[in-house]
């Protein structure tokens, strides 16, 4: 066991994957000599050389498009897009090809690759560097999308993603790269993609979230217990596609109340999907409408005002109280 932050844990997973599987290659802009603008690929070029740790030309469509080719030809590319705000340049390769090859060739041609997209606000970044657009990928059949929330699950999910036979978007909450440390075991762990985790037990209300927002949700849950004596259960989705309906509905069946939280815009956001599943499965157990605490339906404001956009513990607490007093 060693204590490490999420940046280090993702780096560790990449290192281990490169070490144990010679098909794995890491590619992207500035991932080599610079070791990534967030230093996630630290030490990899030095250890594995530029055949496997590849500084690419500045072209996201090129990175993803050639990763598709490499995956088809038997490699296991792990592509880094520097910021999720630039993955749209690659979107047509993702939508038109990565997500479709298996289906259109009836399983003959497959695309086992990982796309790492650092997403999210809260780090006072430039324009186009703070958005959360997981819905685009969730809305694209054929893709999986996972979002880690801490060092340990980040490392385990990355291993699972690399081993997965299909293309996986690994949506990286960059705001918490270095926010806190956790014990990470020495032996390689994986987490089944498609499984959520109950990370806090409670009986009165269920809070559902993922990624960077989970920190605010846990903080709100603590405040709710301290100030109102209410015990909230917290579900960390971890995987957006496939979504673990069972863990969600089991919790809501028990609590009868739920609040779903994410920083992406509200309209057609992941919360809408969660609410729909709750309605479909446990509607008659509900004591109150399920609330959403999300980003607003605007581009995340430039950083002087981004705080007001991002769901924080106060806003979540407020929604919990409204839900509890309905």
């Amino acid at each position: 066991m060693a204590e490490m932050n999420m940046a280090k844990a993702i780096n560790k997973a990449l290192y281990e994957a490169l070490e144990r599987d010679e098909r794995v290659v890491v590619l992207g802009e500035d991932v080599g000599a610079d070791e990534g603008v967030f230093r996630i690929t630290e030490g990899l070029l030095a250890k594995f050389g530029d055949k496997r740790v590849i500084d690419t030309p500045l072209a996201e469509s090129g990175i993803i498009g050639t990763s598709i080719g490499m995956a088809i030809y038997g490699l296991r590319p792990v592509a880094e897009i520097q910021f999720a705000g630039f993955d749209y340049y690659a979107f047509h390769q993702i939508e038109s090809h990565a997500s479709r090859f298996r289906n259109r060739t009836r399983g003959r041609v497959t695309v086992p690759m990982v796309m790492r997209f650092p997403y999210g606000g809260g780090i006072r970044a430039l324009e186009h560097h703070s958005e959360s657009r997981e819905t685009y990928y969730a809305h694209t059949p054929g893709l999986k999308i996972v979002v880690p929330s801490g060092p340990r699950n980040a490392r385990a999910l990355l291993h699972s993603a690399i081993q997965d036979p299909d293309p996986v978007v690994y949506y990286e909450p960059k705001a918490i790269y270095r926010a806190f440390k956790e014990e990470v075991p020495d032996t390689i762990e994986t987490l089944p993609i498609g499984r959520a985790q109950v990370v806090r037990e409670g009986r009165e209300i269920t809070l559902i979230s993922y990624g960077a927002s989970l920190r605010q949700v846990l903080e709100a849950a603590e405040m709710l217990e301290e100030e109102d004596g209410v015990k909230a259960e917290v579900v960390d989705l971890l995987s957006i596609v496939p979504m673990d309906t069972k863990t969600i509905v089991d919790s809501v069946r028990k609590t009868g109340r739920a609040v779903v939280v994410h920083e992406a815009p509200r309209n057609c956001g992941i919360a809408a999907e969660v609410v729909a599943r709750i309605n479909e499965h446990v509607f008659l157990y509900l004591e109150a409408p399920v609330a959403r605490v999300t980003g607003y339906d605007v581009p995340i404001p430039y950083f002087s005002k981004e705080k007001a956009y991002l769901p924080d513990a106060d806003r979540i607490l407020d929604a919990c109280r409204q839900t509890l007093s309905f």
Binding site: E29, A125, D297, V298, E306
Partner: protein, 383 residues
Amino acid sequence: MPKKPIKLPENIEYLSILDENAKVDKELEPKLSADDLKTMYRYMVLARRGDERMLNLQRQGRIGTFPQSSGHEAVSMGSVYALEKSDWHVPAYREFAGMLYRGWPLETMFLYWGGFEEGAVPPEGVNDLPICVPVGSQLLHAAGIGMAMRFKEEKKVVLTYFGDGSSSEGDFHEALNFASVFNAPVVFVCQNNQYAISVPLARQMKCETIAQRAVSYGMPGVKVDGNDVLAMYAATAAAVERARAGGGPTLIEGLTYRMTPHTTSDDPKRYRSEEEMKQWANKDSLIRFARYLEDKGVLDGDARKKLHEEIDEEIKAAVKRFEEQAQSEELLNPLRMFDYLYADTPPDLDEQREELKRFLAKKGKLPASEAGKEQAHTGRERG
């Protein structure tokens, strides 16, 4: 049949007029008046000193991460000076000198890097698009503006910029192709500072020059000493003239060097040697231009000193105006995030605005200008 060579229409030339020792090629020297030259120098110094001041502001946490522009003054200023005010200017993000010359106030630039959308608002009467962060994408907008100029049968020109790394993006290639196919009056200027963050140009392409890309799109291309403001001006003026006369687009590559990290969060020691940085510091466009102006009797040491003092005062005043705006209730009002997204704000977005307003009011954080107008919650009715 024997194989026959196909003759390509363009040769690629390298243009230099004022070399790093301030020696000028009299034959190629552009005809610029003393006032022209002083203006160019003025905005180059304003950009350099402004850049240094911004680094300061960034270190103090008063603005955020920003891409520094020191080293790029000549590419930007030499080219933009070939435009008329009614022409269009579509920058990337290192055209600080050019934007200031075109009429962007310093404080607006500070606001942009200080985290305010208001820093992206082109001033009234300035035919510029704002800074563009997703690299290379602006080139297509410039091509489209050029196509629209042709459509309207106007004799105007659009000048646009990109970095060497950005020439790897598909958008770059599409933009050159569109501009060329539609004979649009576009001048594409590459700020070739030889690195895209850490990645050297040799990793972007196998070609010797960016300029030669022009050949495959059927337009002229020229490589220029980008630290030579006179050569940048001469090359751009020729391209602008041709475009205005209906001769179509041109690609200009200005070879330069960023004298700073990529942005304030970059560490260039990881990928460039001290030696190389020193070498390029000696080629600084400002040093040689100052000597040229002195030799020509346009601006002597004393006049230069006076100009620098004036510029420092100007920057100081701009920082003050920036601070006032950045701390004003108006610009800090988070509810502004809803107000500019659509011409007519849809009702559900209005409801989100109300939702945030109620929340701010509850927390005692509602700006005074918004107070007293809260509407009741309309959702979650009981049946």
